[in-house]
């Protein structure tokens, strides 16, 4: 009898924890979507804010986040992938490369606000880019680099050496081997990592706080040295800084819906690529 009770309790605790974790996600999504969906209309997505940001939409914030993601991609993807290729394909394995790898892995765990400080010191001040979408995008790019480098390296490591030997033995140069065999085979893995990293970057707030995000801008960001609005910061601002918090709460919910939908969409794309790649093999 006692043994049965223990078994029951064990099941109860383990299953209960799992259900609780699922419930947390459920509560988050249900709360945000049930209260936010009614605000998300075509006008909300396609109009700028109006009446002291108590009405209207979030178009400038959407455009700002897209700008930011674009610049992050343009900076972090080529540099990150090139760095991973250098480390995995060119650099001879040594203590130094192992130290570099370990540092990069640990940089992925550095708080994002510290990247914000670095962006401020490097891009805003040292490079004189000012507070702008360029500074903020580059800062987010730096934040993304460790993730992109690590996931790309993992993808490259999964390509068996026999594949490289095949083309090398045919007289291909090392670059041709990378370009024609290694990268195409590693592409799904790299792409999955890149998309997941970008979805994380798009939702980040702390690194852009002092590198260029604005409370409000009366137009759409149209050049890289302008300041910008961004979806995550807009949520922060609407829920803590705005003068009539109660009045704009539906807008904050609506903005959260748009941001979460955007991030989930990116994640689903990544899952799809991973899934498709797995079933093909």
């Amino acid at each position: 009898m006692k043994a049965r009770l223990i078994i029951f309790l064990n099941w109860f605790v383990l299953l209960g924890s799992t259900l609780l974790v699922c419930a947390v996600l459920g509560i988050i999504l249900v709360d945000i979507f049930s209260k936010g969906m009614s605000s998300v209309t075509w006008e909300f997505i396609s109009q700028p804010p109006a009446k002291g940001m108590t009405q209207g939409g979030i178009l400038p914030a959407i455009i700002g986040t897209l700008w930011l993601t674009l610049i992050t991609t343009l900076f972090a993807v080529p540099f990150g992938v090139a760095c991973a290729i250098y480390l995995n394909e060119y650099a001879f394995p040594s203590i130094l490369t192992n130290v570099i790898r370990a540092s990069i892995r640990n940089l992925a765990g550095v708080p994002s606000i510290i990247y914000g400080l670095f962006g401020l010191a490097l891009f805003v001040q040292a490079f004189r880019l000012g507070t702008s979408v360029l500074s903020a995008g580059l800062t987010l790019g730096l934040l993304s680099l460790p993730y992109i480098i690590t996931t790309t390296e993992e993808a490259l490591k999964r390509i068996p050496n026999s594949m490289r030997e095949a083309t090398l033995a045919l007289g291909a140069t090392q670059f041709e081997t990378i370009k024609d065999v290694v990268l195409p085979s590693a592409l799904p893995g790299i792409l999955t990592g890149v998309i997941l990293t970008l979805s994380r970057a798009a939702g980040e707030t702390a690194p852009i706080l002092f590198t260029g995000v604005a409370f409000y801008i009366n137009g759409l960001t149209s050049s890289v040295n302008q300041e910008f609005m961004a979806l995550p910061y807009h949520i922060y601002m609407l829920s803590t800084q705005h003068q009539s918090i109660e009045q704009v709460r539906p807008l904050a919910y609506g903005t959260s819906v748009v941001l979460i939908a955007m991030v989930f969409l990116l994640n689903l794309t990544a899952f799809y690529i991973r899934f498709k790649n797995r079933t093909q093999q």
Binding site: N106, P111, L117, E204, S256
Partner: protein, 295 residues
């Protein structure tokens, strides 16, 4: 002729890759030097002893009190609180996923956990204001739910995916032979789970907790939005607190560059950086031990 041209391209691109690789590594390494340089500037101006032993962070006052202690205490306090929630919950869930859940359930639950990880921190912080805060206020009969408890709950949610994923990997990596040996000796499923499988996965579980803790310590937006931001030493979970990250977020935009206050913010950032670095290294150390152990 053509062959040497191809070789030349190869050499050139090798150099390009090496250069970009080294530039990237240099940029990332720059983070550390930037922090170091700016905080040295602070310690040259201010008093390093006060920084670690004083009791007040109050840059606005005329004397300029820059003590990291209340901030550090707040940061540690809220992170420990979050671990008290997230560690049991995360490890139990991971155990369930790897040992008990049928395959179909696992393939559904794993994406659920990844989805949880994908939710931006600002959205979690927002829920701290509109959902968790009022709930805490109601349950404890207090006026305002923006306090350490709120922050701990939110940070637990943010650390859960990390803890679950790594713990699950660690538990699944325990060799089948261990379990079979235990079962063959007549131990039942539960005894095997708690006395053989989980202890064997322990280094991995510690690694999971460490990385989760690192995540909680470094999180900015949720604590900024949900903990009330009072820079006093915390006495209980219902007190408002202000973490290192929140302090940087609040004050960095508002200080003139190259002043004592500006450098002070870099100094507290260095402390945070070192703490998270140590915790991550510790996590990695345990993860490696697990790997070696099973290899």
């Amino acid at each position: 002729m053509n062959a040497s041209k191809r070789e030349a391209i190869d050499r050139l691109l090798k150099m390009v890759f090496r250069a970009t690789g080294l530039v990237t590594i240099g940029l990332l390494g720059g983070i550390f030097f930037m922090l170091l340089f700016n905080s040295i500037a602070f310690f040259a101006k201010g008093n390093p002893i006060d920084f670690f032993t004083g009791s007040q962070w109050n840059p606005g006052s005329d004397a300029g009190n820059y003590s990291i202690l209340p901030l550090l205490a707040s940061t540690g306090f809220v992170a420990l609180g979050s671990m008290m929630i997230a560690v049991p919950l995360g490890i139990f869930t991971a155990t369930f996923l790897s040992e008990l859940a049928p395959d179909t359930l696992r393939t559904i639950l794993k994406p659920v956990i990844e989805m949880l990880a994908a939710i931006p921190s600002v959205a979690i912080g927002f829920l701290g204001i509109v959902l968790v805060g009022p709930a805490i206020a109601r349950v404890f009969g207090i006026q305002n739910g923006l306090n350490a408890l709120n922050g701990s709950i939110l940070l637990a949610i943010m650390a859960l995916p990390t803890i679950i994923t790594i713990s699950e990997d660690a538990i699944s990596a325990v060799p089948k032979t261990y379990k079979e040996a235990s079962l063959a000796l007549g131990a039942n499923k539960w005894a095997t789970l708690f006395q053989v499988t989980l202890p064997a996965a322990l280094p991995g579980l510690i690694a999971a907790v460490m990385l989760g803790l690192g995540r909680a310590l470094g999180e900015t937006m949720t604590v900024l939005m949900a903990t009330g931001n009072a820079a006093a030493l915390p006495k209980g979970f219902l007190d408002s607190i202000r973490t290192i990250t929140a302090t940087i977020a609040i004050e960095m935009g508002e200080v003139p560059y190259q002043t004592t206050h500006y450098f002070a913010l870099f100094a507290i950032a260095v402390v945070l950086f070192i703490i998270t670095l140590l915790i991550n290294l510790l996590g990695e150390f345990f993860a490696n031990r697990l790997r070696k152990f099973h290899a």
